[in-house]
């Protein structure tokens, strides 16, 4: 990161539980006003990382730096951070108003100022008239908004969110995503958001931190991690993709991958750090593959294919097609296109810039060095 000092920086943070390493030397920065998503499967250490930042879990090593100040050894209640829990963790014995006022009362905000601040925050999350209710009288979405208001009313330097939307049903979740994003843009609060939902991470965040097994796999803007994943894990975790194993046969103005089996080859854009003869995966996203007769013959990556499976999923048609050498590809075609029946012989095509070249694990690759991880 360059420019302004980071609102929050984490340096080589480590935590083990017994013999299990939960967080293994993670470093990252969040710029002021940035919306950062920590994305990964359950058990990848993202929640532990967040709880270490909050001060609820004591790290084994490393530092947490808040706006230039080392807070690693500062007690939880003196950090002035906000935290929204997956379970909301509202105080069941207090009204909505008292829940939101809790943080202000701990800071001895005088009553004439406290009332209006709580009311304003409740207005902001559209809970204005519900202040006298108790949490159990509210719906899941309303409870979620109380949790947000409670965390934001103290104007925390950074707001941490631990899977805040995963307890909501699908429809409400999408609604809350939009609301959360607009709230963040309006208040300009730095937010760090933990999720296992890749769509949520891509939609909400300015940058995505993809984590696996306690380590950072890649940090980048949503388009970056989606289009140029640094590792096979990132490519697999963010959206569905076809992995075609082969060997780099040629690298120059274009890269050519001879697929294992010897019959087909795939053309890709060259990528620095790869060498001729190196085993690679050519990764092609489902939606990057165009299905149907070629618009213009003679372009690279055109193959004859037979439809072996078709299912309609609303916004997309899902296909599995078989290429000439017997390998199968998964394809997501726009839902508005007329469907192709099973058994139909057709063609598939994708452009070289949609091919992601990844070295087969175990072979050297620039993405595995610290610079490549975007640290």
């Amino acid at each position: 990161m360059s420019g302004a000092a980071p609102a929050l920086a984490v340096r080589r943070l480590r935590k083990s539980f017994g013999t299990v390493v939960a967080v293994d030397g993670v470093s990252l920065d969040a710029a002021p006003g940035e919306f950062l998503a920590l994305l990964g499967p359950s058990g990848c250490g993202k929640s532990t990382l967040l709880r270490m930042v909050a001060g609820l879990v004591e790290p084994d090593g490393g530092e947490v730096v808040l706006a230039g100040e080392d807070i690693t050894r500062i007690a939880v209640h003196q950090r002035n951070l906000g935290l929204v829990f997956q379970s909301y963790a509202l105080f069941p014995h207090m009204t909505v108003f008292e829940n939101v006022a809790f943080g202000l009362r701990r800071r001895s905000v005088p009553p004439p100022e406290l009332g209006p601040r709580v009311e304003r925050m409740l207005e902001l999350v559209r809970l204005g008239p519900l202040g006298a209710r108790h949490p159990r009288e509210l719906s899941g979405g309303q409870q979620q908004r109380v949790a947000l208001a409670r965390a934001l009313v103290t104007e925390p330097r950074v707001l941490l969110l631990d899977e805040p939307l995963s307890n909501l049903d699908a429809l409400l979740r999408e609604e809350m995503r939009v609301e959360l994003k607009r709230l963040q843009e309006r208040l300009g609060t730095t937010m760090i958001f933990v999720t296992h939902d890749q769509a949520e991470a891509l939609i909400l965040s300015d940058r995505v931190v993809v984590m696996e097994a306690g380590r950072v796999e890649q940090i980048g803007r949503p388009e970056e991690v989606y289009r140029r994943p640094a590792t096979a894990f990132v490519a697999r975790f963010l959206g569905r993709a076809n992995f075609l194993a082969g060997t780099l046969a040629e690298i120059g103005s274009a890269a050519v991958v001879a697929l294992d089996g010897g019959e087909l080859s795939v053309v890709a854009l060259p990528r620095p750090g790869l060498e001729r003869g190196q085993p690679v995966h050519a990764v092609i996203r489902q939606e990057a593959i165009r299905l149907g007769p070629a618009a213009e013959a003679g372009r690279p990556n055109q193959f004859a294919a037979t439809v072996v499976f078709h299912a309609f999923a609303g916004q997309a048609h899902h296909y599995v097609v078989q290429l000439g050498d017997g390998r199968e590809l998964e394809i997501a075609a726009p839902g508005s296109a007329p469907p192709l029946a099973r058994g139909v012989r057709t063609r598939v095509e994708w452009s070289p810039e949609d091919v992601i070249l990844l070295p087969v694990p175990g072979t050297p690759h620039p993405a595995l060095s610290p610079e490549g991880r975007g640290l």
Binding site: G55, N80, G82, S87, F91, H134
Partner: protein
């Protein structure tokens, strides 16, 4: 509606072993007893009047209630930290520690009480230790008085309090306490404003349990209080079996039962009030 039928066996049992015997005490309590003659006919409120005006009986009633309150407070103060630790620890010793808490319940009550007599006697272990340490000059009277009963009953009923509290504290989500801490509450403040109020249902039910058990305990007060230091249960026992004054004993039994029922009614109302807030 069919759900109510599930209650029938329990209701029948309650009718046979509680409502009927207590009901049978009512007519007896309104008779009078003449020594050497026995129970005479005629209806009188004498037994009740004496029970509620005679200073001897009033002192015993007051002592019983004070003992109930004292033992409840003592088990609560000693038991809460233990229960909190057991509910929250991730130690592998946890199950063993819980067994240790419950262990006294597995020993015979009379054996345990005689143990306390040996400890609390004039030249017992406690007094010897106190004098050896120079805390007191002469032996302290710990038997056949309030202190002795407090110590013995607190020890016996502590496991009940701890077990009820463990359940209540385990029901409080850790996230809720963590949320209070992140919002700026120190450990003590988070405990007072969040953990303690949320464990109120457990505190209430544990307290009622210990209070009721204490004011109706018989064996321990008899052994640790001796023949002269009376509480209501020992008084009733003597009235029925020593003095054979069944009418007075019945009146005392009904008063003790009424006290318990009033307490349960009041605590039920309190639970609904706090339950509405919690």
């Amino acid at each position: 509606m069919s759900g109510w039928r599930l209650l029938v066996p329990a209701l029948l049992l309650l009718l046979v072993v509680f409502v009927a015997p207590v009901g049978m005490l009512v007519p007896t309590s309104l008779r009078s007893y003449v020594p050497l003659v026995g129970i005479t006919g005629g209806v009188t409120a004498r037994n009740y009047v004496r029970l509620l005006t005679d200073s001897y009986y009033l002192e015993i009633i007051g002592r019983t209630l004070a003992l109930g309150l004292g033992v409840t407070c003592a088990t609560l103060i000693i038991g809460y930290p233990v229960a909190f630790f057991l509910a929250r620890t991730r130690s592998r010793w946890r199950n063993w520690l819980t067994i240790l808490v419950v262990f006294p319940l597995m020993l015979n009550l009379v054996v345990r009480t005689f143990g306390w007599i040996a400890l609390l006697a004039q030249n017992g272990l406690v007094n010897q230790a106190l004098q050896a340490l120079g805390v007191v000059d002469g032996p302290v009277k710990l038997l056949f008085n309030f202190a002795g009963l407090m110590i013995g009953l607190t020890h016996i009923f502590l496991p009940f309090m701890v077990l009820v509290l463990i359940g209540a504290i385990q029901n409080i989500p850790r996230d809720v306490e963590d949320a209070a801490r992140v919002l700026g509450a120190s450990w003590g403040s988070a405990f007072l404003r969040v953990t303690l109020p949320l464990s109120a249902p457990g505190i209430l039910s544990g307290s009622i349990l210990v209070f009721v058990l204490t004011i109706s305990a018989l064996v321990t007060p008899r052994l640790l209080g001796g023949p002269t230091y009376q509480v209501m249960s020992t008084l009733i026992y003597d009235e029925f079996l020593q003095r054979l004054n069944w009418p007075a004993g019945s009146a005392q039994s009904l008063l003790l039962t009424a006290m318990v029922l009033v307490l349960i009614y009041l605590s039920g109302r309190l639970a609904r009030r706090t339950g509405a807030a919690a």
